[in-house]
Amino acid sequence: MSADVSDLSLVRRVQRGDKGAFDALVLKYQHKVVKLVMRYVRNPAEAEDIAQEAFIKAYRALPQFRGDSAFYTWLYRIAINTAKNAVVSRDRSPIDFDLDLQNPDESYDMQGRLKDSETPEALTLTEEIRSTVNSAIDALPEDLRTAIVLRELEGLSYEEIADAMGCPVGTVRSRIFRAREAIDRRLREVFEGGLGRAEELG
């Protein structure tokens, strides 16, 4: 199975004018891109702003994407450049310096200002999702847990997981799907309650 097939399918749709396909790409990679950007800025809200800018840049540059490299490699490059530029422009900005002087009592993290959107509620929701997923994984049968962890944590292909677990590739696909479904059932409950709260957070 050639790598990046699913991303390329979505990319080709975007290139043909299907903006909905770009949503799927953003949903798939938003966490990874934010995590990548957070190497440059520690504040999650600022990292999300930079990630948003990176995604929009990627969308505008998609006509030039030919598929020579994997989509995520290309996207990560854009995200890193965007983050570097953001850090440089922020460091050169006199506004931040002025704010520091004008608000000496305001608390800052190492890389910048704490944004209003970084609220305790948002952090609580993240913790709730994390604990739900982890408890769901702990409740999985051993073979399903091993398969999903090898895939998500180690990034192994189905074939590599099949070798590691001594089973056919079709079985790996089935195990990963069943593991996701089991976790998803628990996660949906959080999302149905959590999404309402998230909207309230604005």
């Binding site: 699913s6 399918s9 043909r16 909905g20 396909a21 957070m38 696909r173 990963i176």
Partner: protein
């Protein structure tokens, strides 16, 4: 939502779905909100597992980043026209630069092949043969003069003894053919490699011989070897 579709979505999320199925599912994914929500939760599951096991900064697992990007992209023009236009420009630009290069490369290849072919076809010892033949014009002239002056005289097709025939001398049939045709061809055509091989005498002499009033065939040593057929044809 059927289980098979969800199973395919899971495989597609891992880049493990065959391409043809990917294309169909990508189309559905871009339009089906329920499928997109499931896709989103798959991403959250992966992020949560990595956050727990790997630690470090992960950001928020629940975020409105995707909806913000989607709103911003909605305000952007669709890409279809741009992609087509840029591909056309790329194609046209490509045509412009590689056409002369390709033309030059083809010309160079043909020239190189021609040189190699000619060198490969050149008879071994041809220089020696020509040098030896250079001493023969006197004998040849005499032979031709005898033939012109006395048709009843028995024709002599004797090759001067000083000329040693080597295995590379073309066959009589080939020589006969070339000589017969050379009478009706322009002098420049006889300068091709095969004529030079057969009629191994200086071109000036060949031209002079071919312009003789009686239309006699060029008097060359090699021609003399297979002369009978030519003579019959010209009579």
């Amino acid at each position: 939502m059927n289980e098979e579709l969800d199973s395919q979505l899971s495989a597609m999320f891992d880049d493990e779905l065959p391409e043809d199925q990917c294309q169909l599912l990508a189309r559905r994914l871009s339009r089906d909100d329920a499928l997109k929500a499931r896709w989103r939760r798959y991403a959250v599951i992966g992020a949560a597992i990595r956050a727990e096991r790997q630690g470090g900064a992960v950001g928020r697992l629940e975020t409105n980043l995707a909806s913000r990007v989607s709103a911003a992209v909605s305000a952007e023009p669709a890409l279809a026209g741009e992609v087509v236009a840029q591909n056309a420009v790329r194609k046209a630009g490509g045509m412009r630069w590689w056409q002369p290069v390709a033309g030059g490369a083809i010309a160079a290849s043909v020239a190189a092949m021609s040189v190699l072919w000619i060198r490969a076809q050149a008879p071994v010892g041809a220089d020696t043969l020509v040098a030896e033949n250079a001493a023969a014009p006197a004998a040849l002239t005499q032979t031709v003069a005898q033939r012109m002056g006395d048709d009843s005289a028995s024709e002599s097709y004797v090759v001067p003894a000083t000329v040693e025939r080597t295995p590379i001398v073309p066959s009589a049939e080939l020589a006969n053919y070339v000589v017969a045709h050379s009478e009706f061809s322009a002098p420049v055509n006889r300068r091709n490699m095969l004529s030079a091989l057969v009629a191994s005498e200086p071109l000036a002499e060949v031209d002079a011989a071919s312009s003789e009033p009686n239309g006699a065939a060029p008097a060359t040593n090699v021609v003399e070897v297979s002369r009978p057929n030519v003579e019959e044809a010209s009579k």
